[in-house]
């Protein structure tokens, strides 16, 4: 790793730690750092225990993991397709996961009626299946003896539109309580996240991150083109499969935990790449920057903005102008 990349990664790590602390200490009921520390070692009052361990911690941990998952998934897809627009939210992975999850909420007979068992397992599984099927279809349709990133993006946009339509239809046909739950979930929010929705994304991050890091050198070489990568000994088919599965699993589990938080997968790797001045988004820095963005946006919704605006709204408001700015820049500046 280059020195500058190391520095950027460490800076992101420090920011993440700071935001985790802020998220745990700051909130509507005022606790001091000492109170929180006492509670964490089990010496707090039952009230403090509830606030810190059951309300604040799962939210912060979910924000951390969702941000890492989205940032890493975005970096993997952008590098793989050699195009910053080829992020999971644009090429249909996120909408596939959302469709799967909403189908589970609506068709599963009611999210809150069926109980925690279905939510813990059913939602992430449905999201992963939805995301995998969507990516397989999009990837298959855009394959022309190689990956053509513009085909991938255009077909992905089509898939996103289709799936969003079907998802809306599902919601319109659903019981009013399910529809409300699904609609609220679709905005992308960390409020009301419980430990049960944290576990799948935790497992995904712990398993996928090392696997993705084994592909660092291959990603580096594959920037030069498919033929030369093969010539340099990259087993391209296997490499592509690993990258796609990693990105899909990360995105889908993240979406199942918090709903789709827009633009994180798109923005975080691009900012990380510009900070590190590298030829492609650095994986670890992108992941950590994803966490910075999600945790930062969540801190804003809780501390600064009135009435708990969902995280997904904030990232969309910040991310969309960035997308437009990137689109209006010259093409050669894209990855």
């Amino acid at each position: 790793m280059k020195r500058r990349t190391v520095i950027v990664t460490l800076a992101c790590l420090i920011a993440v730690v700071a935001l985790v602390l802020v998220g745990t200490v700051v909130g509507s009921s005022s606790l001091t750092i000492m109170d929180v520390a006492h509670t964490l070692i089990g010496a707090g009052t039952p009230g403090q225990q509830l606030i810190v361990v059951e309300l604040r911690l799962p939210r912060v941990v979910a924000g951390l993991l969702v941000g890492i998952a989205l940032g890493l998934a975005g970096a993997l897809m952008q590098t793989f397709a050699r195009n910053p627009l080829a992020t999971p939210d644009i090429i249909g992975v996120t909408s596939g996961a959302s469709f799967g999850a909403v189908a589970a909420i609506v068709l599963g007979g009611g999210s809150y009626a069926v109980g925690a068992g279905l939510l813990t397992l059913g939602l992430p599984v449905a999201a992963v299946i939805g995301a995998l099927v969507t990516s397989a279809v999009v990837y298959g349709l855009s394959w022309r003896g190689g990956i053509d990133s513009y085909r991938l993006i255009l077909i992905g946009i089509g898939a996103t539109a289709t799936l969003t339509g079907i998802t809306s239809y599902l919601i319109s046909r659903a019981q009013i309580t399910d529809a409300a739950a699904a609609a609220q979930w679709l905005v992308g929010s960390l409020s009301g996240v419980s430990w049960s929705s944290v576990w799948p994304v935790l497992v995904a991050v712990l398993v996928v991150t090392p696997l993705a890091l084994t592909q660092t050198a291959n990603l580096e070489v594959s920037q030069l083109g498919d033929d030369i990568s093969t010539g340099l000994g990259v087993a391209l088919q296997r490499h592509r499969l690993i990258i796609i599965v990693c990105a899909v699993v990360l995105t889908a589990t993240a979406v199942s935990a918090s709903g789709p938080i827009e633009f994180v997968a798109f923005v975080a790797p691009q900012i990380a790449r510009r900070l590190a001045r590298s030829s492609r988004p650095p994986l670890l820095a992108s992941a950590l920057l994803g966490a910075v963005i999600v945790l930062g946006a969540d801190a804003l919704t809780r501390g600064v903005l009135p009435g708990e605006v969902p995280v997904g709204i904030i990232t969309a408001i910040v991310g969309a102008p960035y997308l437009i700015w990137l689109l209006t820049r010259r093409k050669e500046n894209l990855v």
Partner: protein, 259 residues
């Protein structure tokens, strides 16, 4: 480490380019594939470099079918420079050339001092030492092509395949690149197979010319054996006179005036 095609059929989708082709590459020499546009010379080079799998027959490297060898192991013995590789952004010439070490590295053996030595030697051989810290995107066409060749040299493969290494270069830079190829062939006893368009330069820098067309090898031999008016007429539909190049003594192809 012989490279040979045995009964190879090459096709894109349904259109067959070669059928049952046999060709053995000479070790330690420079072989150039020539032929008209669309004759399949690049296709054949791709098959030798395992970028295109034959639909029948096999390409053998050192007696083993390419498809049975791990791709990384092939990469240590055989390097291929395709047409139009992508120049990464924010990457120095040295970093670009360093990627040639990829097949020699693994997760548990990321970078050794020997890798640095090899990359330095590749930069030296291609005259890029002074440009090593420049951004690859800022190089001129000729410099960039030398950087790609340096990457291939850093791969330390005994067999080197080059697909049209002189395209888009002016004549002087074409000569630079071909002199470099000859020097590599000489200094490292490397086997070189390349595709060239310019017949006179092909004749000057090759030990052996292979003319392809009509789905097979049309002519095969030394430049003087191959570059005859009859072969040029057949392979390129070109009326030409072949004389001795006053500078090098190799065949010089002079196209006849078309009336």
């Amino acid at each position: 480490m012989t490279l040979e095609a045995r009964g190879v059929t090459l096709a894109y989708d349904k259109s067959v380019v070669f059928e049952g082709l046999d060709l053995t590459i000479d070790e330690g020499r420079i072989t150039t594939l020539i032929g008209a546009n669309g004759s399949g010379k690049s296709t054949l080079l791709k098959a030798f470099g395992r970028l295109l799998a034959p639909s029948a027959g096999t390409v053998h490297l050192g007696g083993h079918p390419l498809r049975d060898l791990p791709t990384r192991e092939i990469a240590r013995r055989l390097a291929i420079l395709p047409q139009k590789p992508l120049t990464p952004s924010a990457t120095s010439v040295r970093d670009l050339v360093s990627r040639g070490r990829h097949p020699h590295q693994s997760l548990f053996q990321p970078w050794t001092p020997n890798d640095t030595v090899v990359v330095d030697a590749a930069l030296e051989a291609t005259g890029l030492v002074e440009l090593a810290d420049r951004d690859a995107g800022s190089l001129s066409g000729g410099q960039l092509q030398r950087a790609w060749i340096a990457l291939v040299l850093a791969q330390e493969a005994q067999t080197i395949l080059l697909d049209e290494p002189t395209t888009f270069l002016d004549l002087s830079h074409q000569l630079d690149v071909l002199e470099l190829v000859r020097q590599v062939n000489h200094d490292r006893a490397a086997t070189v197979v390349m595709v060239l368009h310019d017949l006179t330069l092909a004749g000057r820098y090759s030990d052996r010319l292979v003319v392809v067309g009509e789905g097979r090898v049309l002519a095969d031999g030394t430049p003087w054996e191959v570059l005859t008016p009859a072969t040029l007429k057949r392979a390129f539909d070109l009326d030409a006179i072949v004389i001795a190049d006053p500078s090098s003594g190799t065949p010089l192809v002079v196209p006849a005036v078309r009336s």
